[in-house]
Amino acid sequence: MKRTYAKITPMLGLAALLAACDKPTETAGITPQQMADALHAVMESDRTVYTRLVVNRLQNEEKVIKASEHWKDQKALPLPAQMFRYGSEMVGKKTDAFTYQLLSLWPVNKQNAPRTDVEKSGLTFVAENKGKNYYAEETLGGKKYFTAIYADTGVAPACISCHNGHKDSPRTDFKEGDVMGGVVLRIPIK
């Protein structure tokens, strides 16, 4: 009996120790989808504020300053898409925990057309299913990513009028509230 206890007790103790180590700690962790949704909420809000309160108000309503792609040369406001992209570049310098881009099926600059399969299917999905987001996983350059794609809608008259009138825009019949593209957010996962 004693010998049995002598054998079992250390084994039980070891098993308990291993179990305690192996078990993932139940902290308040968040899923990649939750993280993507939270980041997108911030991005979308910041850009909507800029588009409505700065660009649309000062350019289209008050008419005191224009917004232009060549804002430095023309002493104008950066376009909302540029404000978004400069933020994305700045984030890229600070962290590689996530990346995000503004893409479209009807891009003014062809380099912003979808390139990966997930981008193509995601942009199509959010354009055809208003109000829904698209989530997928993809492997790029040997690394795995959780990719979230959110619809990007024309939130102000400034968006519509500029894109419809741009010489490089492949589509000229946007209306306010239309899906004009998508925000593609990638989080590296294991």
């Binding site: 350019q59 289209n60 008419k63 224009k66 917004a67 232009s68 792609e69 060549h70 430095k72 040369d73 023309q74 104008a76 994305s88 570049e89 890229g92 310098k93 590689d96 990346t99 881009q101 062809k110 390139r115 990966t116 981008e119 790029l140 350059g141 040997g142 690394k143 990513y145 009028s161 500029c162 009138g165 741009h166 010489k167 490089d168 000229t172 593609v184 990638r186 590296p188």
Partner: protein
């Protein structure tokens, strides 16, 4: 047995001897032995300061990248770099990075490879654009039949700086006359009565607490005569302001007979920074791992006058020690050393004629064209106390490629199309613009044609 011993002794002696020799060279002042290939024109002056680029013996690309960015990063940001690193760290471009890793400067600009080095230190064959932009023929029918290595041709596209070449800029400057109605560059505010200017001089004076002195020596009347008619004198900058220097920040100021550029930097920070970044002053820059002598015409790779072999470059070389003659610095200082065809042909050029007319008072200030007008162009520096016109002293800043000169220099007097054509013609440059461009770059024509076939160009607010 004895033969074996001899062989052992010989090899140990040979290896130890060679190792000892190489280690001695490594820690000596002249490490030319370790240069594995002719360095680029841009770096050859500092080629012996290995640690400027090789900040660590190990680390490869990322270590070198930091070195590149520390000298060239600000310039690329100012040029609104068309291909910044951020484009290539984006995961969606991972496949492109496999083909051409444009995240790192050294992918395209490898040092120590003289056999494959092209202009501006490029060590790739000319088709690098095609690797990502292979569908351009579909997006731009005008490009359909162009050679796949013709993208970076003069007047067309640059990898980094397209400020004078982007489509909307060309569209905004169609049909400009070769010579503008009011050709003029920015004029430097050098009036001693300019309150902002005098205020700066007063602040500079306050830095030197010791009273006016000539270092205990009797003042040379010729030097005083040279100085007293200068703007320095009018602003109250006298002997001690330049000659009393502190060897260390907290040390007492001592008289220095020949102050270097640090004496000028106290007031002329922007000009000094430009000088130290360019090919005149890069050997004197801070942060070099070994102290280097000032640049001299004997070290140059371009033709220099033989009688200038003894000249060493500092602020006083071009500006004179006490006269600070900017007119001399604008032309004669250059022609005193440079002996290439472009320089030799300047005197007969229309630019020189305009310069002489300005000097004679026949043309208003800013209409003459000296060497400095183009190669040390005037820039507007924004400050808290207003805008200042400052001469950029990095004479190489707008030469790589020369389209950088278009907006800062040429377009002050000339139309965009004429400027592009002239800078694209090596014969025109060699003759120092004595002849009209023989070749026409079609960029503007193609933009005009495209505008006619598409909607109105993107006017802000539409």
């Amino acid at each position: 047995m004895q033969r074996k011993t001899i062989i052992w002794v010989f090899w140990i002696a040979a290896v130890s001897g060679l190792t000892g020799y190489f280690v001695w060279v490594l820690y000596s002042n002249d490490r030319t032995l370790f240069l594995i290939g002719k360095t680029t024109d841009g770096h050859h002056q500092i080629e012996l300061a290995c640690e400027v680029c090789h900040t660590s013996p190990f680390g490869g690309g990322p270590v070198l990248q930091n070195a590149c960015v520390s000298c060239h990063g600000a310039e690329l940001a100012q040029a609104n770099d068309s291909h910044p690193k951020s484009k290539f760290t984006d995961p969606r471009n991972a496949d492109r990075v496999q083909i051409l890793d444009a995240r790192f400067c050294v992918t395209c600009h490898r040092e120590h490879k003289p056999g494959i080095t092209l202009a501006m230190g490029l060590t790739l064959p000319g088709d690098y654009c095609f690797k990502c932009h292979e569908t351009i023929g579909k997006e731009r029918p005008s490009h359909k039949d162009l050679a796949f290595d013709s993208c970076a041709s003069a007047g067309c596209h640059n990898f980094h700086d397209n400020r004078a070449l982007y489509e909307d800029f060309l569209a905004a400057h169609l049909h400009e006359t070769p010579l503008r109605a009011q050709p003029q560059v920015a004029v430097r505010a050098n009036s001693a009565s300019d309150p902002a200017w005098v205020e700066r001089a007063r602040i500079a004076l306050a830095r030197v607490s010791s009273p006016d002195t000539t270092g205990g020596k009797p003042a040379d009347p010729r030097i005083l005569h040279d100085w007293e008619s200068t703007l320095h004198a009018k602003a109250g900058v006298s002997c001690n302001d330049c000659h009393m220097l502190r060897p260390a920040p907290a040390a007492t100021a001592v008289w220095t007979d020949r102050p270097g550029h640090n004496a000028c930097a106290g007031c002329h920070a922007a000009e000094t920074a430009g000088f130290l970044a360019g090919r005149h002053g890069m050997r004197l820059a801070d942060g070099l791992s070994v102290p280097l002598t000032p640049m001299s015409p004997t070290m140059a790779r371009i033709p220099m006058r033989a009688d200038a072999h003894g000249t060493t470059l500092g602020c006083a070389t071009c500006h004179g020690a006490h006269r600070f003659d900017v007119k001399f610095a604008a032309v004669e200082a250059c022609t005193g050393c440079h002996n290439d065809e472009h320089t030799r042909n300047y005197a007969k050029s229309a630019h020189a004629a305009a310069w002489e007319a300005e000097a004679a008072g026949l043309k208003p200030a800013g209409q003459g064209v000296s060497c400095a007008t183009c190669h040390l162009p005037r820039e507007i520096h924004r400050g808290e106390k207003g805008d200042r016109v400052v001469a950029q002293h990095n004479q190489n800043n707008n030469l790589r490629p020369n389209e950088k000169m278009i907006r800062s220099v040429c377009m002050n007097c000339h139309g965009l199309g004429f400027a592009i054509d002239a800078l694209a013609d090596p014969e025109v440059i060699r003759s120092n613009f004595a002849k009209l461009p023989s070749r026409h770059v079609e960029s503007l024509d193609w933009v005009e044609r495209r505008l006619k076939t598409t909607r109105k160009p993107n006017q802000p607010g539409q």
